[in-house]
């Protein structure tokens, strides 16, 4: 292939050309808008270079919502293609590209970003800290994630999207069967954003272990912070496996090594093995923060303290350990013997036990509670039954003998969507609605929010329950079309209608943000939900330094006890506050990472070497830089606090 041919789209269609034009116009519009309103300086000073965990959290949030729409459009196209038999809306190659992109975008760039967004915003507030342990590293994490996501999305207009599935199994993903540069994009984009995630993991473990407010013992931490700690532990132990696997895959594709080839001593199944050694813990990386969010929301709106705090913690620790013991259940049919499959079947069923404990704890928290049906609570209540059905069908899939029947069918697709959507998407929207007043100082409209909930919950059920039936009838996943005689038509049409319902729900969510921004009251006080944990003890919106006086904690529901049981949170006077400085280096370094990734995708070695040197130059700059942060004086704190209606 000629050098310049590689940049062309291998399977062009009018839709892709239209998207190119649309992307070009959007970029021009953004640049022109920023220049016209003279916002470049503001953007650089206040957002791009920020080390404030709250702003980084909000940037993660916006990126996650953007990626949710990208992945959602992919999903709609897939459902539209399969809605009727023998449809010709998309051809096989486009369908492959779309389901690959849908999976990668939703897991790596939407769900991960969403959980990290909420962790960033909430965790330092919940433990009474001023920022995370390594604020500048946090900025670098975000920009590496963002550049990885952009690199991946670029594949669609330059060089072609990856089409080997989000799992990218070899030998299909090897050069022989995936000739275009699409899979190079997959390997490098996930690699870059994965480095960012790994840094987040280290950062948050250090933050939670070392920066808790005085008196907050580990067993007095709020449940969301506990779930964040466990999640980040899993990130630190699981992501290196992905890093190594992606590096090996990249070398196979770019340098002709033989890790995953079928000849010359390579072992193609090793990719699947390593992928799932990361991939199964990844499932728990996504679900545990969601569990944490529900454990905050349910006690708040059931007006009771959380049932079984210790068993909640113990079951999360157990889940984190067991999550590393089950990965083979993703490829029971690959040819291992009965002994291996039995071992991993049993460990898979074992993991349902701690999860069940958590479900019962939530139910007991609700028991005899004075439940307030707010929007976050509706999502939590919707989560319980739908997630349980999704989880129980997962145990069915986990029985290796039976798995031969439904492996790689739509039954599997139904299962994992019915755990991931209530487990991650519901939790994220619930968390978003719950913490929105803390982020932006006004509440999202409850009435529109309830409509959104019913569209999303109803859409989820209608879209995915029919897949159980078509899957058991034999419809394989990733089939781009089917004949009328199979009888799958009706189920797929129902799924399509469900997907439209979901789409309507997400449009309503965006409309709600727009509507509430314009009309919602700004006079809501600091604690609009009458909540229980420390993040509600500071002002709305939160000042740069979070708490004017470091809180003193002596119970697991510190803020609730200060409201109802007379504990004093803030003792002493204002003292000078030491805060970190902003820095532009992480952003520049991430841009260089983007260039490096792009150069490697297209085997442009000179550019790649120059950008590697640039990355090391940035690292060296950091090593020799003297940056002692800045201090906020007592007068400044007094002024800010007075503006925010005085300290308590």
């Amino acid at each position: 292939m000629d050098f310049f041919d590689r940049f062309a789209i291998p399977h062009p269609s009018p839709v892709i050309y239209a998207s190119m034009v649309a992307i070009g116009l959007t970029v021009i519009a953004i640049v022109a808008g920023l220049t016209y309103f003279k916002k470049w300086g503001y953007l650089w000073r206040e957002w791009i270079t920020t080390v404030d965990h709250k702003r980084i959290g909000i940037m993660y949030l916006l990126s996650a919502l953007l990626m949710l729409f990208r992945g959602g459009v992919d999903a709609l196209m897939m459902r539209a293609q399969t809605a009727v038999p023998e449809n010709t809306l998309l051809d096989a190659q486009h369908y492959n590209e779309i389901f690959t992109t849908h999976g990668v975008v939703m897991i790596i760039f939407m769900a991960m970003a969403f959980i990290i967004a909420l962790m960033n915003f909430v965790v330092p507030l919940q433990i009474g800290a001023r920022d995370v342990a390594f604020p500048r590293l946090n900025n670098l994490s975000f920009w590496l994630y963002f550049m990885g996501a952009m690199l991946f999305n670029l594949s669609f207009v330059i060089g072609g999207s990856p089409s080997a599935g989000w799992t990218s199994y070899f030998p299909l993903a090897g050069n022989e069967f995936s000739e275009s540069v699409g899979t190079n994009y997959y390997m490098l984009a996930i690699q870059i954003s994965g480095i960012g995630t790994l840094m987040t993991g280290i950062n948050f473990i250090a933050t939670i272990l070392k920066m808790r407010a005085p008196g907050m013992k580990l067993m007095k931490m709020p449940m969301f912070t506990w779930s964040a700690l466990i999640t980040n532990l899993i990130i630190v132990f699981a992501f290196p496996v992905l890093t190594v696997a992606l590096a090996m895959g990249t070398m196979d594709r770019l340098f002709g090594s033989n890790f995953f080839t079928t000849t010359d001593g390579g072992m193609d199944m090793l990719w699947a093995n390593l992928f799932w050694v990361w991939g199964h813990p990844e499932v728990y990386i996504l679900i545990l923060p969601a569990f944490g969010i529900y454990s905050e929301i349910i006690p708040t709106f059931a007006r009771r303290n959380l049932y079984g705090y210790k068993s909640m913690v113990a079951s999360m620790v157990l889940i984190s350990l067991l999550s590393f013991f089950v990965w083979v259940h993703h490829f029971f049919t690959m040819g291992q013997g009965a002994l291996v499959n039995s071992i991993f079947s049993i460990s898979t069923m074992a993991i349902a036990v701690p999860t069940g404990i958590k479900i019962f704890n939530w139910l007991f928290t609700l028991w005899k509670g004075k439940i307030k049906f707010t929007v976050p609570m509706l999502y939590s209540l919707g989560f319980l039954p739908i997630f349980t059905i999704g989880g129980v069908t997962g145990v069915m899939l986990g029985m290796s003998a039976a798995d031969y029947q439904y492996h790689n069918t739509m039954f599997l697709v139904a299962h994992f969507h019915l755990v991931i959507i209530p487990g991650v998407v519901f939790a994220m929207i619930a968390g978003l609605t719950y913490w929105w007043p803390k982020m932006f100082g006004f509440m999202l409209n409850e009435r529109i929010g309830k409509w959104t909930f019913w569209f999303i919950a109803g859409g989820t059920c209608l879209a995915f329950f029919p897949m159980f039936i078509s899957g058991l009838d034999g419809q394989a996943r990733r089939m781009y079309t089917y004949s009328e005689a199979t009888g799958f038509g009706i189920w797929n049409m129902l799924s399509f209608i469900g997907a439209l319902g979901l789409a309507a729900g997400f449009v309503l969510l965006v409309y709600n943000i727009y509507y509430s921004t314009r009309y919602a009251s700004r006079d809501i006080g600091d604690d609009p939900w009458d909540a229980r944990s420390l993040e509600w003890a500071t002002h709305n919106p939160v000042p740069e330094y979070n708490f004017a006086i470091t809180p003193q904690v002596n119970s697991s529901e510190a803020f609730w006890d200060s409201k109802k049981n007379g504990h004093t949170l803030f003792k002493g006077d204002y003292k000078e506050i030491h805060m970190p400085n902003n820095s532009g280096v992480p952003f520049i370094m991430s841009i260089i990472f983007f260039v490096l990734g792009f150069a490697l995708v297209f085997s442009m070695w000179i550019v790649a070497i120059v950008s590697l040197i640039g990355i090391f130059a940035c690292l060296a700059h950091r090593s020799f830089e003297k940056d002692h942060g800045h201090h906020i004086s007592v007068e400044e704190i007094e002024k800010t606090e007075a503006e925010m209606r005085g300290a308590k």
């Binding site: 090793l270 390593l274 590393f324």
Partner: protein
Amino acid sequence: MKELFPRKQVMGFVFSLVLTAAALLVYFLDMSFAVGMTVLLVTAFIQAGLQFIVFMHAGETEDKGLIFTNIYYGLIIALVTVFGTLLAMVWGYI
């Protein structure tokens, strides 16, 4: 002067060089796969322990309980991953 000399670190550095040399012998001497692999694994684990304790100061602060728990947890997961992979890909594969 004696108190200022970092005796532990210098000894650790020398010992770490000895371990590296021992591992290198596997390449230069002609030994069986089993013997070579044993030498590599043993020197690697001692080397890792040395780095953690002497140069990364694990066990010198009051949170050493947390640090060692993390290291052991990581070790368990690494062993499960390696032996699980061998089980699934080699020993238990028909």
